[in-house]
Symmetry: C2
Subunit: 133 residues, 2 copies
């Protein structure tokens, strides 16, 4: 992502400020990839079979939530959030409020919430991400 209205650059701690927003590029959710990823990591019928998915709580085929999360990481890492030395997650809260469908185009919005604490020569920052379908 570029800082809104600025050129993409590698960002370091001094470049970040609370409330700063980023928007990622977009990613197309391909049906075959949804099924292949689900077959490997989340082989449940509503991620694999349209007919069964129609009768499920999803009312249609949907991507595994872990696929959606992994795509978010890709979008952040490949320019979405250009942190100088990379992005390492320690953890956080995660929510899947609605399904990701084949053919969806995903984009992520991120916002820095706060600096957490400094551990040795690293500072932890808290940020918030939202997928836009």
């Amino acid at each position: 992502m570029d800082p809104v209205g600025e050129k993409p650059i590698a960002l370091y701690l001094e470049d970040l400020h609370v409330g700063q927003r980023f928007t990622s590029d977009s990613y197309h959710m391909d049906e075959n990839r949804i099924k292949a990823l689900a077959a490997e990591f989340d082989p449940q019928p509503f991620h694999l079979d349209e007919a069964v998915a129609k009768t499920s709580v999803f009312n249609g085929l949907s991507a595994s939530g872990w696929h959606t999360a992994a795509v978010a990481m890709r979008l952040l890492v490949t320019g979405g959030l250009p942190l100088g030395n990379g992005i390492i997650g320690l953890g956080g809260e995660l929510a899947w409020p609605r399904p990701t469908r084949p053919g969806d185009t995903l984009r992520w919005k991120a916002r820095f919430r706060k600096y957490c604490r400094r551990v040795r020569n690293r500072t932890r920052v808290s940020s918030w991400y939202e997928a836009v379908h």
Copy 2:
């Protein structure tokens, strides 16, 4: 996972009780798969290149946290947590306290924490999972 000391069966709501524990089968983290998944979803040097990873905070090659999370889902879905109608996550808290390495064998422990709330004809349950390396 089997309920400890019992045969694997499909579990329904009435079979669950707070504090109930499950343990999954194990999964071997293959180095090539770690790199391939990282190349697709988390292409950062410490997931792709041993030499760079040695100089990183991980002090060696590590799997993307999303790979570890996806393996957890596989272990739950393929018998680890045999819920009758499948496992759908609405969200939760996630932490990666230490890296997953090539060659690691992962196993998951789960414990039901509480019933959350009943929405239409579905009941949400809260559970806790921990990877054991």
